[in-house]
Symmetry: C2
Subunit: 333 residues, 2 copies
């Protein structure tokens, strides 16, 4: 076959594939999103930056989308799911720590009194996290997370935690990737707590996860190099830390950012202050029936200043009860 014949075949094929593709594009890319301003704004923005003729075209390499995780990609009530993990680890490790029976916050936790255990606030949580998330190698921690996430269930819904991800957001992630966006998770949660499962669940590879971290040290253990997790905070990827984390890890400002709480406000501000077309979206948890309803006065995922900023800035706000026809994946148990 001569090169010109190949060229003609290619042109013919592309023309016909084009027809198939345009049919596929007419199918709704966001079936769990009800018609309304949020859905319209998303599709309008993605179409605009992906269309060479729009006047707002952005080359694919600059199409960065950043997503908060807790409350944005999966639920976060009655507490961050990573805290369920930490508590389960305290219980599993208790036999090796007899001193915990008389030492707070562990003593209350082991007696099942979560409220008393967390009465110490952030300091108590930090103690629980450090006792359960450090000391082991990165490989060992990955195994621990994998074992937990495969079986642990939410106390109220009885579902696997990974079945409490938001179906509309799975569709949004896929829609953005189909339009050559690179999707990142930018979460206050632990980076190594997310990496083992987010590729399977969200399609986001480990190198596109940004999160909070502890320091690790490189050691030779029994002749083999390991990275050991140290009981020292390295980076807190929350609030003003989110733009910092984005700059350090990505080095480009996102084109679009998605969050649900005041912890995401600076990420959204940073995104919107870039030149050219930008998109910011807040998810407002308004669905007490199918999920949870909370905002200004919630201790988890508080959305207060962010809601004001969204109103002032004309950002997109999802009203979960109104805008989402489905919350969790139908395939979930």
């Amino acid at each position: 076959m001569r090169p010109t014949s190949i060229l003609y075949s290619l042109l013919f094929l592309l023309t016909n594939l084009g027809a198939v593709n345009s049919h596929a594009q007419n199918a709704d890319p966001l079936p769990s999103w009800r018609a309304g301003p949020a859905k319209t704004a998303i599709i309008e923005f993605v179409t605009r930056v992906s269309s060479p003729a729009s006047g707002n075209f952005v080359p694919p390499r600059e199409r960065i989308a950043s997503f908060d995780n807790d409350g944005t990609l999966w639920s976060e009530q009655p507490m961050y799911f990573q805290l369920f993990f930490a508590i389960d680890r305290v219980k599993a490790l208790a036999p090796q720590h007899p001193e915990w029976s008389s030492q707070e916050p562990f003593a209350s936790l082991l007696k099942g009194d979560l409220k008393a255990a967390l009465a110490g606030g952030e300091h108590a949580i930090l103690e629980i996290v450090m006792a359960t998330h450090t000391g082991m190698t990165t490989d060992e921690f990955e195994d621990i997370v994998n074992a937990w996430i495969a079986t642990a269930t939410h106390p109220q819904t009885g579902r696997l935690f990974t079945d409490m991800v938001f179906q509309p957001m799975l569709e949004l992630l896929a829609y953005l990737r189909a339009n050559e966006f690179k999707t990142y998770i930018v979460s206050g949660g632990g980076i190594e707590f997310m990496r083992p499962w987010v590729e399977k669940v969200y399609g986001v590879p480990p190198e596109q996860v940004i999160g909070s971290s502890v320091k690790t040290s490189y050691e030779i253990a029994e002749g083999k190099p390991v990275l050991r997790r140290q009981a020292t905070i390295d980076f807190i990827n929350d609030k003003a830390g989110k733009p910092v984390g984005i700059q350090t890890r990505i080095g480009r400002r996102p084109l679009a950012a998605f969050g649900n709480s005041d912890g995401d406000l600076q990420m959204l501000e940073w995104t919107m202050s870039g030149a050219g077309p930008r998109f910011a979206l807040y998810i407002h948890h308004t669905d007490a029936e199918r999920e949870w309803a909370y905002d200004k006065s919630s201790s988890v995922g508080r959305l207060d200043k962010g809601l004001d900023a969204a109103r002032e800035g004309g950002w997109t706000v999802v009203d979960m009860a109104r805008d989402w026809s489905q919350i969790y994946p139908a395939s979930a148990r």
Copy 2:
């Protein structure tokens, strides 16, 4: 056109493209590499992990290749090129710092006595770097680097610094990417010093650059969010820091790693200690005529323990004088 017709067209086309492609594969992917053990080892490894039938196939998402920069992708003599940048910045900023005329290391530097300026060792270098790399916003720093890299030339070769990249390594980067490797820079140099130009020069996007960094803080300046570079070290991505940086940013162990000094030893060890097929390569600077010749006793890019480890581990060692038919790109001025 019915779907079956499209399918036949596609099959026909793929068959013929296959012929074209196999012709392309027969062309030498590494023309500046002379036939020899290093070139053979590279091609053998890449072919093995990319061939589903080899028994050592690795899925594309796990094909991570990490490259040191100074001395591995471009030259580093008589001192790291970033230091030339820092010195040029001291000269440019001197009018705003009259106190520097009597304050070391700036005073000696401004008199042109580099040796005296650097007599203070690491501390002197740190002072020079902090005085020239911090205080501004990340956007401002990017502009400063872009202006410098576009015009600054090496005092001995008279070339632009970006024309002192290694042609054989440009070919290697392209060859790996053609085989679905994701190529990362993992350098002791400043991450924000590299990002502005490495995409154009090496084809590596900013999100695939790992380097040393200073802390940045998120601020609102004149109503606009900015990230300001602080005079505090955040992370030193050198020696045992390299595996730490790789885990933090990528979260996967590289399949292949490339370096030239003892500063890369832990990255190569970490890479080789993973399960399955792995590849480590050291560049040995042996070409005093076309580049520089140095190893065990060089203060810049010392290669001492690394050379022993490579011998013991059976790693690939490039003898620059013997293995590379060309050092710098022919298109360079």
